[in-house]
Amino acid sequence: MSRIDQRFASLKAAGRTGLIPFITAGDPSPEAVVALMHALVEAGADLIELGVPFSDPMADGPVIQHASERAIARGVGLGDVLRWVGEFRQRDTDTPVVLMGYLNPVEIHGYEAFAAEAATAGVDGVLLVDCPLEESAVLEPLRAAGLKTIRLAAPTTAPARMAQLCEVAEGFLYYVSFAGITGAGRLSTRDIASRVADIRSRASAPVAVGFGVRDAQSAKEIAAFADAVVIGSALVERLDGAGTADEAVARAKDFLAPIRAALDAH
């Protein structure tokens, strides 16, 4: 059983909602990444989404875009991200890590090479935002190397397509809670709840809900109907400007602790 499947199985057994924080690799600083990942786990993260910086993140809002720009300005590339996952794995062999990003860095790195290096580093899954189901043939080497392809589903996804996504979903299905970019502020909980309930009844993979989760309150509302909650822009925003790795770690823990508590109180 893969690390992602194991983690969701134990969450289910314990009746807990998963917490999936997202950070951009290389922001607020390259030195802080591995320490931050451990801090996220200590503060209650069940799975880590690690953003691979890309110069043209079309589906992301300004917060994550700027984090990407800062990381790129510091010279961060896919090779660094894989190295950091490898370092993280030296002390943590349980927490699943999913790389989130765009296709071009992987395409340029080479699919075969990326798949082998990512698997060796201890990456568990890959979410490539601009690679929908229809274009996924190129990801075959990733699957062969044992990496889970995490799929997105959206409020705009048509029923027939949703059925298809539910069928192929592996690891978990990431439900984008509205038809916007990451970090936007709108969220109609009731609407999301009924759609997620529908997806959960059809997909064998667990459903994580993200896009627009900002704090303990919004996380708790989503925890009522999702297997896991993804929290990205709000965390990246909080980390921005942390001068040292210690400060970044402290900020991450402060930010995540009340969210973890709210999820567990649910």
Partner: protein, 411 residues
């Protein structure tokens, strides 16, 4: 350096049969977008597939092209320029004479009518040089649609006149300050707007890039250029040209000219990319001549990027060619060996600009000046009775400040 996967180039018998139903031109094209965009793209594809065969829609488009745009645009034999070059006859397809001053209106008229038929009250557009923004604002005004144009802050600075034109036409111009603050960033921002406001918004992409169906739809609307030109060549010169050329940024005016000639295998096809200060200098925007296959803005195509896959900041004297990707059909034509893509430097384009101004009384856009420079090179290789057809895609009024600044003149 990482080597991209080798590309399978299909043996092509009919170049007019592309893209395939998935929107792919061989390995290129496709729909590389976030899940949130798949539904709007499906809606657009369905609507456009229906409209492109709808006689009423096509008749309305045709009326607008005739009475509003001013088509057909003439062919013009640049006699003095040809004599100066001392080779083949250079024939200009005068897209600069269209309403709003460039080929861009061919596409915005078409997409504007599609938006109207789809019942979308708001249109958005990205623009580099401002020509597509102006053409979109123009169509929005005429159809009574709200219009928002995204434009890189750098481009706003170098294309002030077009910015003001858009405002006069009632459009809102939103400066984009992320990334390199140019066309690619404006495209990212427009895509974000579309994802967020898709219910009431139609996104008019200005070039043959983006996800399917845009490369096909924008090509179809611009293909009138080549259809007219091919018929005009046969009528006025009794034969097809020996070579045709156009400038290539995203590639809409070029595919517009090239498409009708693709199955005429004896016609040499050459795209002129912006070589900026020279391809060796690294300061250029020649995606096909110097890039590699990758994925950008919703399609697989040739891109300029570093070994980490980060899209490069490009350079060209002309904002309209300053783009690190290129339409996927051009990538396909390059790999299929049907078209050649070569670089033309800023300096060569400037020289062509001045020559055309002084010898023919035509101020070409800086983008089109690249094509003129390439036409001169092609003409030199051919005998006097040869024919080189060049798409003069736009007029240069918008560029006079850029040119004055470059030459140290205060206007």
């Amino acid at each position: 350096m990482a080597t991209p996967a080798p590309l399978a180039t299909p043996a092509v018998t009919d170049f007019h049969a592309w893209p395939d139903p998935h929107g792919r031109f061989g390995q290129f094209g496709g729909q590389y977008v976030a899940e949130t965009l798949m539904a709007p793209l499906a809606e657009l594809t369905e609507a456009y597939e229906r409209l492109r065969k709808d006689p009423e829609f096509l008749a309305e488009l045709d009326r607008d092209l005739t009475h509003y745009v001013g088509r057909p645009s003439p062919l013009y034999h640049a006699e003095r320029l040809s004599a100066h070059v001392g080779g083949a006859r250079i024939i200009l397809k005068r897209e600069d004479l269209n309403h709003t001053g460039a080929h861009k209106i061919n596409n915005t008229i078409g997409q504007g009518l599609v938006a109207k038929r789809m019942g979308k009250p708001r249109i958005i557009a990205e623009t580099g040089a401002g020509q597509h923004g102006v053409a979109s604002a123009t169509v929005a005004a005429r159809l009574g649609l709200k219009c928002v144009v995204y434009m890189g802050a750098t481009d706003i600075e170098r294309q002030k006149i077009n910015v003001y034109r858009m405002k006069l036409l009632g459009a809102e111009v939103v400066p984009v300050t992320s990334g390199s603050k140019t066309l690619k960033d404006a495209l990212n921002e427009a895509m974000r707007d579309w994802v967020t406001n898709v219910a009431d918004t139609f996104y008019i992409i200005g070039t043959v890039a983006g996800p399917h169906p845009y490369p096909m739809m924008v090509r179809d609307f611009n293909a009138i250029v080549g259809r007219e030109a091919r018929a005009q060549m046969l009528t006025e010169y009794g034969r097809l040209p020996d070579a045709i050329t156009a400038c290539v940024g995203g590639g809409s005016n070029a595919i517009g000219l090239f498409h009708e000639f693709l199955n005429d295998r004896d016609v040499r096809i050459v795209g002129a990319e912006a070589a900026g200060e020279g391809i060796g200098s690294g300061l250029h925007a020649a995606s096909l001549a110097a890039g590699r296959p990758g994925v950008l803005h919703g399609n697989r195509t040739y891109v300029l990027c570093d070994d980490n896959g980060q899209i490069a900041e490009t350079h060209s004297i002309s904002a309209g060619l300053d783009y690190p990707g290129v339409g996927p059909e051009h990538a396909f034509l390059k790999d299929a060996g049907r078209a050649e893509y070569v670089g033309v430097t800023d300096a060569e384009a400037m020289e062509a600009f001045h020559l055309l101004a002084r010898m023919e009384g035509i101020l070409p856009a800086l983008e089109s000046s690249h094509a003129v420079a390439q036409a001169m090179k092609l003409a030199r290789e051919l005998p006097r009775e040869g024919l080189v057809l060049c798409n003069l895609s736009g007029r240069g009024d918008k560029d006079v400040h850029t040119i004055a600044a470059r030459e140290g003149v205060t206007v």
